[in-house]
């Protein structure tokens, strides 16, 4: 282990120990109950979370809710949970979870099975794709809290200047980039920017290219790359975008923020990103204010219509919580329509409840919401499997190798498939 790892492991151990101490106070019979809520701080105009927690305390006298911040990056958050939960720390009751962790945590026995505790129709108002990613083995393990879906942002002003409508296929997109760049003659204007750095975001982008091309990463029966030729073709197409200059060379180092800034500075025609970017493009001082619109991600000319990958956060109840009923009540409160409205108004996070996308108050603050609804409904989750992180960590360098051109796409798919087969044989 490195010094850095060891140091962070110690820090986590210490934090876990302190948490345990904190948690013990609430466990006494008759005394005041303390619920610990772990979450990542919300960015936005005003963090609505403290207010919502105080509201819950007022409705439940004798209950204190302690909101505790998680580390900043998703990797660190995952590591924090794994070390604490594997170490049987009862230090928290309600946990904010990246939706891709739910099956893993459920399989490990770290989450309370909520299926029997929920009302029959309780999940109906949520997006089906969000519910799907909170469900594993036919049981529900978390409540969907905020929602993400991949979108195609475009410069409406530029498309209008050339009489173009947003592209329905990637082939059209490439053609539009050629036409607009030929007409604009601006060497600083890039075509289509997206996320090609070797990280989780790359997997999301490649999955969207797969789906448009009729390929999958994981079949329902557990087969990896059930359509290898189509998958390789999708990778080849992405590589082609970079080779032909439709996407800039730095796409291979781009994450959400890098690509969002390039587009936000007015240096790109198309951008693939999440809904949060819209608020930033419309904020005062933005170089592209009033010039941006979004559309569904394109499909392929001879493939399927495009679908955005869904993401977001769920709220789960720790299986070691001493107060599972209260913890579920808190998760319900935070995912309620009222709470999600407050979060949608105060932060750049999108709700998981469909009705809020037509809610007058929300629409007044964020006019793009009704248009987002159809795209969110059409979104597809990443493979819902306890092995998702293994899947993702294994394919990342292979996808990246195909994108930067050091490996033919067919080889990258074959190599990733072989590695996955080896690891999955061991865990199944």
């Amino acid at each position: 282990m490195t010094v850095g790892l060891r140091r962070s492991a110690w820090a986590l151990a210490l934090a876990a120990w302190l948490l345990t101490l904190g948690g013990c106070g609430g466990g006494r019979e008759g005394g005041p109950v303390t619920l610990v809520f772990k979450y990542a701080r919300i960015l936005g105009n005003a963090d609505p979370l403290p207010g919502l927690l105080r509201e819950f305390e007022r409705a439940h006298p004798g209950v204190r809710v302690k909101g505790e911040a998680l580390p900043w990056t998703s990797d660190d958050q995952h590591q924090f949970y794994v070390i604490n939960l594997e170490g049987r720390s009862p230090g928290f009751d309600v946990m904010m979870l990246d939706c891709i962790w739910v099956p893993e945590f459920a399989r490990a026995g770290w989450l309370t099975d909520l299926t029997g505790r929920l009302q029959p129709d309780e999940l109906a108002p949520f997006f089906p794709s969000a519910v799907a990613s909170a469900t594993y083995d036919g049981r529900v393990w978390a409540l969907p809290w905020n929602f993400n879906v991949g979108l195609l942002y475009y410069r409406a002003d530029l498309l209008a200047r050339y009489g173009l409508r947003p592209p329905e296929t990637y082939e059209e997109l490439v053609e539009q980039v050629r036409r607009i760049r030929a007409g604009e003659r601006d060497p600083k204007l890039d075509g289509y920017v997206w996320q090609g750095k070797q990280y989780e975001g790359l997997v999301v982008n490649v999955l969207e290219a797969f789906w448009a091309n009729g390929a999958r990463l994981l079949a329902d029966d557990g087969t990896v790359f059930p359509e290898p030729a189509r998958a390789a073709d999708a990778l080849k197409f992405l590589r082609g975008l970079i080779e032909t200059g439709v996407s800039p060379a730095w796409t291979t180092a781009a994450d959400e923020e890098l690509s969002r800034r390039a587009f936000g500075d007015g240096h790109a025609i198309f951008l693939r990103n999440w809904p949060y970017a819209m608020d930033l493009f419309e904020s005062s001082g933005s170089a592209v204010r009033g010039k941006v619109a979004f559309a569904p991600l394109p499909g392929r000319a001879r493939g399927e219509p495009g679908a955005g990958s869904t993401g977001g956060a769920h709220l789960g109840v720790s299986s070691r919580s001493l107060h599972p009923d209260l913890a579920l009540a808190l998760a319900r409160h935070l995912t309620s329509e009222r709470a999600q409205r407050a979060i949608a108004l105060g932060a750049a996070l999108s709700p998981t409840r469909q009705t809020l996308y037509r809610d007058p108050e929300v629409v007044r603050e964020r006019p793009a919401m009704p248009r987002l609804l159809a795209l969110a409904l059409a979104g597809r989750p990443r493979p819902v499997t306890p092995y998702y992180l293994l899947l993702s960590a294994t394919v990342q360098p292979e996808f990246s190798a195909a994108l930067v051109g050091v490996k033919p796409p067919e080889r990258a798919i074959a190599d990733a498939g072989a590695r996955l087969a080896y690891f999955l044989r061991a865990v199944r």
């Binding site: 282990m1 490195t2 010094v3 850095g4 790892l5 990797d75 995952h78 590591q79 794994v82 594997e86 893993e104 399989r107 490990a108 770290w110 090609g196 750095k197 070797q198 990280y199 800039p248 060379a249 730095w250 796409t251 291979t252 180092a253 781009a254 890098l258 800034r261 390039a262 500075d265 240096h267 306890p386 992180l389 293994l390 960590a393 294994t394 990342q396 360098p397 990246s400 190798a401 994108l403 930067v404 050091v406 490996k407 190599d415 590695r419 080896y422 690891f423 061991a426 865990v427």
Partner: protein, 290 residues
């Protein structure tokens, strides 16, 4: 052995015992535990735990990602240590030759060294930014895809590491330079040695021991480097900046394969031990010769 000698021996044993116990608990026990883990197939969250013998090592032997990480670790270590030594010695000589502002120069050097690795990495993330980064703005039309080009990313990471750790070498060397008596140089001057001869025949040989020590520390650190590439590239593009420790991290903490990840860690440990042993031998030989 007389009674008094035996008593002294016993007392010595008692005195040394706490250290031995502490060392045993803090290093030997976890070390043996990791070794034991590496012989297992263990993925606790899926309730998988069975003895696997050398299966993990057999897989590593034919695992291209492991060999790529090993190669990256070697290139990173050689590249960054070599550059650090050259630049560190040059910086030390430059400061020594300076009449004024030595203290300012030293403080500036220390600033880089004192900066946490993650902060240094973030700084370079901005410097390497494809459009807004200082470096690419300066390069203008010849902008480089620093962190996204598989042939440039590793050198870019090495450069960021050298910036942060070169001061360590520089300050050690500077301290040694101050300890070289002035009359040695005066004698050289009397004998008619030029500047180059003074440097290669007197200064550098006298720096030898301390340099070897600096190189030892830096090599061991570089072999275990993690933060800088983790922040800058996450191991990409195409895995070209993934070192053995990053690979071990992915196996241990991301995909939770404790057995397999431990096997990678054991290899890193063996590598570090081998290098440390080789250097220590060199140091000892140096002592005997001197």
């Amino acid at each position: 052995m007389t009674g008094r000698e035996a008593a002294a021996r016993r007392r010595a044993l008692v005195c040394v015992a706490p250290t031995v116990v502490a060392l045993g608990a803090l290093t030997v026990y976890p070390g043996v535990w990791v070794l034991w883990l590496s012989l297992q197939r263990r993925i606790p969250i899926f309730d998988i735990s069975r003895f696997a013998g050398f299966e993990n090592y057999a897989f590593l032997a034919v695992d291209p990602r492991f060999w790529s990480a090993a190669r990256t670790t070697a290139v990173f270590t050689l590249g960054s240590v070599a550059l650090e030594v050259v630049l560190g010695v040059a910086a030390a000589l430059a400061i020594r030759a300076q009449e004024r502002g030595r203290r300012v120069a030293l403080s500036l050097l220390l600033l880089a060294w004192a900066m946490p690795a993650v902060v240094g990495a973030k700084l370079f993330e901005w410097l390497y930014h494809p459009a807004a980064g200082l470096i690419n703005v300066a390069l203008g039309r010849h902008a480089v895809n620093w962190l996204g080009d598989p042939s440039v990313a590793l050198p870019a990471v090495i450069l960021a590491d050298v910036w942060r750790t070169m001061p360590f070498v520089a300050i050690l060397c500077y301290a040694r330079l101050l300890a070289i008596p002035a009359d040695v140089y005066e004698a050289a001057q009397v004998d008619g040695a030029g500047r180059i001869a003074t440097l290669t025949r007197i200064t550098l040989p006298l720096l030898g021991r301390i340099l070897l020590l600096a190189v030892l520390f830096r090599t061991l650190d570089a072999l275990r480097a993690f933060d800088i590439m983790f922040v800058l590239t996450g191991g990409g593009p195409a895995g070209t900046t993934e070192t053995l420790t990053v690979y071990a991290y992915r196996a241990l903490f991301q995909t939770l394969q404790l057995g397999f990840g431990s096997a990678v860690s054991v290899v890193v440990f063996a590598l570090v031990m081998a290098v440390a042993w080789a250097y220590l031998r060199l140091l000892r030989v140096g002592t005997v010769a001197a």
